[in-house]
């Protein structure tokens, strides 16, 4: 499992003393050390090794802890959205916040996405740091005017005078049985706009580190969570639980190393890709799984480096195929690493239909593990069959 191999590396690195200054503010997960050789490690003469008892944490707990820590660290941070206060968040992400920080900082809004998103943006113009929660990102379509026009474009139009340190967060993408209007994935739409940063965490570590980074970032960040991941539990190290733990925006994570095919994914699909990689392992194909983490800015360097190593690419996402995230990744790889490719790039996406309600049809319209396995095998066999959409 990817986590266990990574854990071993952490343990080795910690005990060797080549660790980041843990007593001071620190960024990054342990995997970064491999991909960022130009960072000078701060050698600490300590015999301290963190305990390796790894804690389990759900994504919901991770997000909640990140919110608590950031709100206590900076009084300018406040949360607003529907049901976030008294009801503790529809998905319980904001448990305990109203009680601890009061109604001045945790605002239950009326059902007025356009209005309250604009209010958040206006408050951000004056230096406050709002976190605007959408009950689902589908509702952000009523507020997209403000996300794009008054938040994303502001720093540019005002030539740097007014920056917008706001975070828009909420569940995005497929929700079991949600139907067409509740299951739309907005990663591609938001990521196409310059001026926005778009993040899509997968594990609890991603959720914690990226949300903390997003809140501290001086630019507008669209933080795409996933409703089906909230209750999933992941192992987290002590380092992740540290209140100064941040993940950098714009860097992808290699969840699993491999040498035959690169599979990129984000959010829920990372889990599927990892399962597919295990199945492929048994069949002799070593897949490298990249967790994108950041859709804008896209970590083209990591993706291209990986493809140059493995020479094959499959992108996975559960959004719609046309103009999706996968299209951008494939094009980037074709433009920059064409001569390294041994097979055509492959995209696995949701079907080119709206997400149906019926459970069987819904399953057919979203990518499944076997689709990823099939696509990976196809690129490895060099076959040029047309990809069926899901």
């Amino acid at each position: 499992m990817a986590a266990s191999t990574a854990k071993k590396e952490v343990r080795d690195n910690f005990c060797r003393g080549e660790i980041w200054g843990i007593v001071r503010q620190r960024v990054g997960s342990y995997n970064l050390m491999q991909s960022l050789q130009r960072i000078r490690p701060l050698v600490v003469n300590s015999s301290k090794c963190y305990s390796h008892a790894v804690k389990q944490m759900t994504v919901q707990e991770a997000l909640n802890s990140a919110l608590h820590e950031e709100m206590s660290a900076d009084p300018n941070v406040f949360l607003m959205g529907e049901e976030v206060g008294q009801n503790q968040g529809l998905y319980k992400i904001s448990i305990g916040l109203l009680k601890k920080y009061g109604p001045g900082r945790v605002l239950d809004t009326p059902i007025t996405e356009a209005g309250f998103t604009g209010i958040g943006v206006g408050a951000a113009y004056h230096g406050l740091k709002p976190i605007v929660e959408f009950m689902t990102f589908n509702f952000s379509m009523q507020a997209i005017d403000h996300i794009i026009n008054s938040a994303a474009k502001m720093n540019y139009m005002s030539a740097g005078q007014i920056s917008v340190p706001i975070v828009f967060r909420g569940p995005n993408g497929a929700a079991a049985g949600g139907g067409a209007q509740h299951s739309h994935c907005f990663a591609a739409w938001y990521a196409s706009c310059p001026g926005l940063k778009v993040l899509a965490p997968y594990s609890s570590e991603d959720a914690r580190g990226l949300l903390k980074a997003a809140i501290r970032d001086p630019d507008p960040v669209v933080f795409l969570e996933n409703g089906l991941l909230y209750e999933e539990s992941f192992p987290v190290s002590e380092e992740v639980l540290d209140s100064n733990f941040f993940l950098p925006i714009g860097k992808a994570k290699i969840e699993r190393e491999g040498k035959d095919v690169t599979i990129t994914a984000f959010s829920r699909m990372v889990g599927y890709a990892l399962k597919a990689a295990e199945i492929l392992e048994k069949e002799g194909i070593s897949a490298e799984v990249i967790n994108l983490r950041s859709i804008r800015p896209l970590d083209r360097a990591t993706i291209n480096a990986s493809v140059r190593k493995t020479r094959r690419l499959v992108t996975v996402e559960d959004g719609f195929p046309q103009h999706g995230v996968g299209s951008e990744i494939c094009t980037s790889v074709i433009e920059e690493s064409f001569h390294y490719l041994d097979a055509p790039v492959g995209r696995i996406t949701g079907a080119d239909v709206l997400v149906p309600y019926n459970a069987v049809l819904e399953r057919m319209s979203l990518p499944q593990v076997e689709d990823i396995v099939r696509a990976a095998k196809r690129t490895c066999n060099g076959s040029v069959q047309m990809a069926s959409t899901a």
């Binding site: 406040f78 209005g115 209010i119 403000h146 005002s158 030539a159």
Partner: protein, 433 residues
């Protein structure tokens, strides 16, 4: 020419009152006579009343029409003047600056120096001057695409605005914003938005931040007010109502100013709106709604004092509808064929600058010479602005990629190879992508 001089505050009625407004007070503004809305021939007089503390009554304030004073100078002794000489000169200068600047914009546009969408404010100067000249530098203003004069009134220099319109690097937004996107952090001009209705939630957010600072961050002296300007077309937009609700709900220090010039490009207000009286929408949300003659800067100023005072004292928002008119088309590309020439002439005769001039001269506040000096000075300012803008350089090509993000490298690696979070100045992003 006689004018409507209707002004009133309409407060929401508490539920347990049994008195009806219409019985106790003569209805100053009869909603059933739509003619009066567009500029009636009725002349209404007011008696000054002491302010009532009850919230369920009409309040009439002692606002006297500028032209009425002029006309009845002989028959009645003039009432107390509303402005001092200094204030009068300040108002006059601001309005003349707005007018001269906009006229110069038109000239420059037709000579090809300015391009894109340019929307001029001629005729509406009384609203901008009447409100903005009562604000402090820390107060914020949010506007729409018709924002040149709001920026000028708020204090952005004519040079900066003209350069921005020419697209030069010395503009207030380095040429990246343009006519419709005037921003100034220093003067708290929050734009400049192309979408109508977009500025209203943003202004409400700015007002929210003022309240947040006072109550959560405990900066007790933070009483900054925000004024949001928008038009009659915007008043049918959903965001407007959402913000009226939330501003009243949370008692935010904001004034919503409707510049009702009766036309949204070519769509007449009465054709687009089920109930054309916009001031009435305020009480529906629990805030006072006021209608004022927007061609008269003194009346606007009186209403503005009250509304801004309310906001500063923490009593919540106000909706002010200013009946005004734009002398030019919607934009410089608008042929303006739909508006009736008689209507245009009617309002041209109520030019706010001429009205203020007559008021000040007839009340012996100033001499003609002093006003001429101001006009000459403004002409020079505008000429200088054009010269400055002409001579300013275009932005360098490297500016294309700048300012997309405040912190372009993200919360990541700084230019010296170390993680940004370890740098104490990490939130000051670079300008280069």
């Amino acid at each position: 020419m006689s004018l409507t001089t209707s002004t009133k505050f309409a407060q929401p009625l508490p539920l347990n009152t049994t008195s009806s407004r219409s019985k106790e007070h003569k209805l100053l503004f009869d909603p059933f006579r739509t003619n009066s809305f567009l500029g009636s021939t009725h002349k209404l007089r007011f008696n000054s009343l002491s302010k009532s503390n009850q919230t369920n009554l009409h309040r009439r304030s002692a606002i006297v029409a500028v032209s009425d004073v002029v006309k009845e100078k002989k028959s009645k002794p003039s009432t107390n003047l509303l402005i001092t000489k200094e204030e009068g000169l300040e108002l006059y200068e601001d309005m003349v600056l707005g007018r001269a600047f906009e006229d110069m914009c038109a000239q420059m546009y037709y000579r090809g120096k300015m391009f894109g969408f340019v929307h001029l404010y001629n005729g509406q100067e009384a609203v901008s001057t009447g409100f903005i000249k009562l604000l402090k530098q820390e107060d914020s203003v949010a506007s729409t695409y018709r924002d040149h004069v709001h920026s000028l009134s708020k204090g952005v220099s004519a040079r900066a605005v003209m350069s921005e319109l020419f697209g030069k690097a010395t503009g207030c937004c380095r040429g990246q914003g343009g006519s419709m996107h005037m921003f100034s952090k220093e003067h708290n001009v929050l734009g400049g938005f192309a979408f109508i209705g977009e500025g209203i939630p943003v202004a409400t957010g700015a007002a929210f931040s003022s309240k947040y600072r006072r109550e959560v961050l405990k900066e007790a002296d933070c009483d900054h007010v925000t004024v949001a300007f928008f038009g009659d077309g915007t008043c049918n937009n959903g965001q407007f109502f959402e913000c009226l609700n939330m501003a009243a709900l949370w008692k935010l220090p904001i004034v919503f100013v409707v510049e009702n010039n009766l036309w949204a490009i070519g769509m007449s207000h009465v054709r687009a709106t089920s109930d054309p009286e916009i001031w009435k929408k305020g009480p529906a949300f629990g805030m006072p709604g006021v209608h004022v003659d927007g061609m008269d800067v003194l009346k606007v100023r009186e209403v503005a004092k009250e509304a801004i005072g309310r906001a500063r004292r923490g009593e919540g928002p106000t909706l002010v509808e200013c009946e005004t008119y734009r002398f030019r088309g919607h934009s410089l590309a608008d042929p303006d064929e739909l508006r009736d020439p008689a209507e245009k002439a009617h309002y041209a005769a109520r030019d706010p600058i001429t009205a203020l001039k007559r008021y000040m001269i007839d009340n012996n506040l100033v001499t003609e010479q002093e006003l001429k000096t101001i006009e000459k000075k403004i002409d020079e300012v505008v000429e200088d602005a054009v010269e400055f803008a002409d001579e300013s350089p275009h932005p360098p090509r490297s500016q294309l990629l700048e300012n997309v993000f405040a912190d372009p490298k993200g919360f990541g690696i700084g230019p010296d190879g170390r993680y940004r979070c370890e740098d104490p100045k990490f939130t000051q992003g670079t300008a280069h992508v």
